[in-house]
Symmetry: C2
């Protein structure tokens, strides 16, 4: 009987008329995401990075040479506001992992580029991160892992491409 099952049992006692079975899936999914996140942050912190900073470095690295992106692009890729991105870039710049310069064409734009230490750091950190994710995934059998991937993909896609229900 895990934490979520205990919560469900309490609700069933207090509110027997309410069906709490959805918690069995949604509650566990959130708890698992939190636990996995904790494990992942352990690796980021080995490199002196927060999760947000790691994400930004990855987004620049994935762009390919010359490892540059505009702050706005980075905000979209990492799903934070541009205000939050300004602060992340501030920290990374202070740490010497990225540089910020004016765009040549459009003078409003900036270009954030990995420095050599930044590139080396993220290349090593990402390899370590993937080993860590592999370790966590290997707690499941390969069959279960691929079944899970399919289910998550299905659900995610049905959330992101919602069917507007017909009114008839």
């Amino acid at each position: 009987m895990d934490h979520v099952a205990r919560i469900q049992a309490e609700w069933r006692r207090e509110r027997p008329e309410i069906d709490v079975t959805p918690q069995g899936v949604i509650g566990r999914l959130h708890r698992l995401a939190d636990r996995l996140g904790e494990e992942l942050r352990l690796v980021y912190s080995r490199y002196g990075l927060s999760e947000g900073e790691f994400d930004v470095l990855c987004a620049i690295r994935r762009a390919g040479e010359p490892y540059e992106r505009a702050p706005g692009e980075l905000a979209v890729h990492t799903m934070v506001t541009t205000g939050a991105m300004t602060k992340r870039i501030d920290r990374l710049e202070r740490a010497g992992l990225v540089t910020r310069r004016r765009s040549t064409g459009d003078q409003r734009g900036r270009i954030v580029a990995l420095t050599t230490p930044g590139l080396e750091l993220i290349d090593q950190a990402f390899a370590d991160h993937m080993r860590n994710e592999r370790r966590l995934l290997d707690l499941l059998t390969p069959t279960d892992a691929s079944a899970l991937e399919r289910l998550l993909t299905t659900w995610l896609s049905s959330m992101e491409h919602p069917h507007t229900p017909d009114s008839g």
Copy 2:
């Protein structure tokens, strides 16, 4: 091709020697947790509650009559520090949803109790919340939903009761 698949494709181009298949599961799980969380917060906000405040009211409500709990218990149940709990209780008290009084026995302790408006609010909000979770879960077939529940339970349990690997 979803967002996670695009990220994987970029990494495969940039770092072909690294196996990024774990992202297919872990990345999607996090994204799904975020998307579900957004949907759930829509309901909380209908009742003027943040997620943290909703969690606290639920934890007190689940305790059963007389709907009271110590701040420390609430902190454990909702998995935040006691400092964070103090602030959540401050807000709920200011909103008139809970009261805070000194424990009779141990004078260090406090007792947080639902007010009548607090009880009515959380009873209605929780019912609405469960309808919302049901709606989201129904994007999956019942077969898929129970398969997913099993996989999440299995993985979660293997994370929370880790096997210490034998060194031989």
